[in-house]
Each structure stands twice: as C-alpha cells, then as structure tokens.
C-alpha cells in the first residue's frame, strides 16, 4: 500500500521535473539573454568578437538546440547543474547555502501562520456571525488582498525606522559573517521578515479553518454530540478537532508554493540574503545556470509540500489507512 503510494509519487516527480526542465530550457533558449554577454559582464568591451566565438564554441552554443538540450539534461541527471556566473560557485552549493538562510525564515513564518490561522479559524467558526467572527473575517480578507511587499514596507517603516526595534536589513549585522553572528542576532533579523510572510499566509488558513469548523458544527456527529449535552466549545475543541485539523495541515503543506513566492518578495523588501533574493538577482543579472537550478529546486520544494500533504492524509485518516481490517 505505502510502497505503491511512494512509487507513484516518485514516478510523478520524475515526469514533473522532465516537463519543467524542457519548458525552462525552451524559455531560456528563446529569451533575449545572451549567455556569453551575461558571462563576460562588464568586461564586454575588452573582448573581441573572436574571443566571444571561442567561448560560444566551448559551451556548444553553435550546436542545434536539441543537441544542447540533450547535453544539458545529461549533465543535470548526474547532478551537475553548472556554475553560477555571478557567484562563481557551483549552482548546487549556492542554492544550498541560500536555502538554509531562507529555510529559517520560511519555517518560522509557516509555523506562525499555521498556528495563528488555525486558532483564529476555530474561534471564528465556533462563534459564527458574532462580532468576533466578523472582525477575524475582515482581518483575513484584508490580508488576503494585501501585497506582501506593501505589508513588509509598512512594518519596516514602523518597527525598524520609527521605533528602531528591529534591524533595517539583512540576516545578520552587516560586517559579520553568518558564522560570527549569534543566534539571538539572527533571530532578531529574522523576526520582521517572518512576521510579514506569516501575516499574509494567515488569511488562507483562517478562512479555510473557519469554513471547516462551521461545516463540522452542522454535521450529523456534531448534532448527536449536542444531544449528549456537549457544548459548542466542547464540539470544536474535543469532538471535531481532528476533522478540522486534518484538512488544515494538508492545506498548510500544499501552500508551500505560495510561501516560496512570498519569500521572494519579503526577502527583497528586507534585503534578506535567502534563496528568494538570489532568484531575483539571478534573473536581473542573467545568471542562467543559477536560474534554471532554482526553478528545478523550487519544483521539488513545492512537490515535497504536496507530497507531505498526501502522506499525512494517508497516515492519519483511518479510512485511508487500511492497515486494520474490518471487524464484523
């Protein structure tokens, strides 16, 4: 059962990566970015046309696209994603380092939005149509329609510029390296970007949990629980908690794509040196190997989120967990 589930998922992942790789290659090869120009950068004027052609030939740019794709895909399959032109470092190691920085940001924002959103959703659902519910809903709708960078800028202006409680930029104090910064310093720098990112993520999980709570309160099992003398609070927090939490956890995992997208914007606003900011840099400066690497990495990242969501359903929902046989 579970091995079959895993095999299907792995097969899907391979198909997905193949599709994404083909599509990105097509996009890049038809884009106006000239890899040789991007590589030589500011030295462009000092390099002759002959030298450019030598570089192009060494890279195989004179070959037809199908052959180029074959070579690139072959390299990729062996784990060689090439060298980033702006960092002069293998793509994999750039992604690895930057992702670790982003990971803490995303993890903190993800758990904050998950916990707060779930709690707010439960309260709003249990108190449907009261002032409390309306307040929470208003907040969620406002947040759902507010751009991340705007929230980021407001928070930055209030807490960093006016109040001076949080730093204005970066993941650690300028002048220090990542290793020199203390845990406290890093948390301090992490706080505002993480809050920005989670404020946006809260909306979806709150509204979803609210709907599920209301649905649970109207269900047959909730009516029966009421007949047994259970209170509304008792139904929400004792009887229906699992029924509401299961889809919420699933949703939270399935929203890793939006989290990544939000991180790109939040990191840009706070000049936070994570993978999101690196993506923007690679795009602006035409670092094609890095850009392709990030595309593939984010594909796997989002896929993992969806995979976790499915896996949790399979492990937690007794109806899908077909280990115990029916007793009759």
């Amino acid at each position: 059962m579970i091995t079959q589930f895993l095999l299907v998922k792995i097969f899907r992942l391979i198909l997905l990566i193949a599709a994404v790789a083909t599509l990105s290659f097509l996009l890049v090869s038809s884009s106006p970015v000239n890899p040789v120009d991007a590589y030589v950068g500011t030295a462009m004027l000092r390099i002759s046309q002959d030298q450019r052609e030598i570089i192009a030939k060494r890279w195989g740019l004179d070959k037809p696209p199908v052959e180029r794709f074959g070579r690139w895909a072959g390299q990729m399959a062996t784990g060689n994603l090439g060298v980033s032109t702006i960092f002069n470092e293998p793509v994999l190691s750039v992604i690895g380092k930057r992702f670790v920085t982003s990971f803490w940001l995303m993890a903190l924002a993800w758990s904050l939005s998950g916990a707060l959103g779930f709690g707010l959703g439960l309260i709003a659902g249990a108190r449907e149509d009261t002032l409390l519910d309306r307040g929470i809903r208003l907040y969620a709708y406002t947040m759902a329609s507010t751009p991340t960078f705007w929230v980021g800028m407001i928070l930055l202006m209030v807490f960093s510029v006016s109040l001076g409680w949080t730093p204005v930029c970066c993941a650690w104090p300028p002048g220090l390296s990542a290793e020199q910064a203390t845990l406290w310093q890093r948390l301090h720098h992490l706080l505002l970007p993480a809050v920005t990112l989670s404020l946006i993520g809260i909306a979806q999980i709150t509204l979803h949990t609210r709907e599920k709570t209301i649905e649970a309160l109207r269900s047959d099992y909730a009516v029966f629980a009421r007949a047994q003398g259970e209170s509304i609070i008792g139904i929400v927090f004792v009887r229906a908690l699992r029924n509401v939490a299961l889809p919420a956890v699933t949703l939270q995992f399935a929203s890793l794509g939006e989290l990544f997208g939000g991180a790109v914007l939040a990191e840009q606003v706070f000049a936070y040196p994570g993978l999101g900011r690196t993506t923007v840099e690679a795009g602006i400066r035409g670092d094609i190997p890095l850009l392709l690497g990030i595309v593939l990495f984010s594909t796997i990242f989002v896929f993992t989120g969806n995979f976790m969501a499915d896996l949790i359903y399979h492990l937690v929902d007794p109806r899908l967990r077909k280990t115990a046989g029916a007793i009759s």
Partner: protein, 307 residues
C-alpha cells in the same frame, strides 16, 4: 414523563431582498408518554419527525422557533432546564450512523457520552464496558473507527451511546431504517427492553409494521400535526382506527388489502382546515374551513370533524 401540547416548529428563512418568510413545519402537535411505555410516532418521511426529536432536546438550528407547552416530569421544559437535562435525562438515538464521528474511535465516543451524562471519571471505563456487553459489542470494537463497523453494529453503538447514562426518556429516531429484518427486530427488542426497565421510549418511524411489533401506543403524525392517538392493539383491524389517514396507512401495510401507495401530504404554512383534507375521501365544507380539535375517543384520541 413527557407531555406535549400544541407544539409548533417554525423556520424563518430570508428570501430575496431580506424578506422574512416563515415556514411552519410542525403545528398542533400533541403527545404524551408514561414511564415504561414505548410510544411510536408514525409519519411519512418529511413529516417533521426528526425535527420533533431535535426540538425536545433543544438542538434545532438557530433559525427555528419552538412554541407550545412541554412538560417533562411534571415541570415545564425551559431552555435552561433542557441544557442541564440533555444527555443526562433525555437521550437521543440518532437516525443515521453518520452521527458517529468518522475520525474518532468508537470507544472514545461512547466514553465521552458517558462522561457528559454525569458519570464520574473513574467509573467511565466500567460503564462503557457494561454498555458494550449489553449490546453484544466485543471489546475490540472500542478500538474501531466507525467505517469498520457493519450497519447493525453501528446501530448498536448508537444505542449504547444513548443509553450509557441513566436517561429516563429515550428518543429513537428511525432506529430500523437501512437494517435487514433480523437486525431491525433486534434493534426494536432493545428498545422494548429499555421500556421494560422503566424508561419512556419514543419510537419515531415511518414504518408502522415495525413500530407495532414493540409499541404500546401509537401517535399518528400527518403534515406536522397529531391526527390520532391509538393503542397498538387498535391496529389489529380497520374498524378500531379512528382517523381516515390512519386507516389509509393501515391499508398500505403489506399484510393488508394494500389499496395503493399514499401520496405525500404537504400543507402550506398557514392554510386553514384539516391537515388531511387534500387527500381525504370523506370531506365536506367544514373540513376546508377549520382545523378540528383533538378529541378523546375511547382509549385514544382523534382529530377529525367526522369521528
């Protein structure tokens, strides 16, 4: 034990432009039941039987309004009193097995009901075990999830859940629906046993044949109104029955002449006249003008201008 007079249940609905519309689902409903009795409430599906059970427990949706006099153990059943009695003195055996939470183990759900019915924490495990064995549920069933149970077992779990406490009034909503004849018979026997221990059992069903197997008395429910109260024995023959609707139901029993299936009876909220009038063969002008009173008739009661 329970005495209901002139019960009505209305729903307020908002239609276009926030116009309030009231729908009256149950009205002029009367019923009384004594300890040790099985009182069957018979009505077609959609007659408002489940709503009646929910009204007695005070668990109707918020847009429902209940009016009328309900006495429980001689005292009016106010909302405050109800919230203290619910699950302790009045218990529900629900209509559908979807009343079990699909994600919680059966044992946990029965234990929670026991705790809510006022049993002390340390006595819960023994009480639950006793309830399980009373309904021939093996110990392992407690560790099952509802989807792992057969229909009959799930029914017994519902009965065990409702009776794990010391409730004196049991409301059984369609306890035989979806069961094969043998399992249905078993469910009815359980209800009879409960009544024989001194509880009052309200057996709500659309299946007269099933109800007559165990009921002492029958209240016939037509379009949300009580039209007849009869002894179960009165159903032995057509001539003992007082109301044309009851006689039509009797005719429709498989064992009897079987004239044809009954049309469902619907009544628009505040139409005057006898609720059964649209389908009655024996009507005259007065039937269309005023709703008849519920009159005593022998050991039963009847609501008909001609009885």
């Amino acid at each position: 034990m329970l005495d209901i007079q002139n019960l009505s249940i209305r729903f307020t609905r908002y239609t276009f432009g926030l116009k309030k519309k009231e729908v009256c689902v149950v009205r002029d409903f009367d019923l009384s039941i004594a300890p040790g009795q099985v009182m069957a409430v018979i009505g077609q599906s959609g007659a408002g039987k489940s709503l009646l059970a929910h009204a007695l427990l005070g668990i109707l949706p918020r847009n429902a309004k209940v009016e009328g006099r309900i006495l429980f153990k001689g005292k009016p059943l106010t909302p405050e009193r109800l919230s203290a009695l619910r699950g302790r003195e009045i218990a529900l055996i629900p209509q559908s097995i979807t009343a079990l939470n699909p994600l919680l183990r059966v044992g946990v759900q029965v234990a929670r009901a026991a705790r809510l019915s006022g049993i002390s924490k340390k006595d819960v495990p023994t009480t639950v075990r006793r309830a399980f064995s009373r309904y021939l549920l093996r110990k392992e069933v407690a560790h099952c999830f509802p989807f792992q149970l057969s229909g009959g077992m799930a029914r017994r779990v519902l009965t065990a859940t409702a009776t794990v406490g010391m409730a004196d009034l049991i409301l059984a909503d369609e306890p035989t629906s979806g069961l094969d004849p043998i399992t249905a018979r078993e469910a009815l026997t359980h209800l009879r046993e409960l009544a024989d221990t001194g509880k009052a059992v309200l057996l709500i069903t659309h299946d007269i044949a099933a109800a007559l197997q165990v009921a002492d008395m029958v209240t016939v429910f037509c379009a949300g109104t009580t039209v007849e109260v009869a002894r179960a024995d009165d159903f032995k023959g057509l001539d003992q029955l007082r109301h044309p609707y009851t006689r039509a139901l009797w005719d429709a029993l498989p064992a009897n002449s079987f004239i044809g299936t009954m049309k469902p009876i619907e009544r628009t909220s505040d139409a005057a006249g006898c609720p059964f009038q649209p389908c009655c063969n024996d009507q005259n002008t007065v039937c269309g003008q005023s709703t008849p009173e519920l009159k005593d008739s022998g050991e039963g009661r009847v609501r008909c201008h001609h009885a």
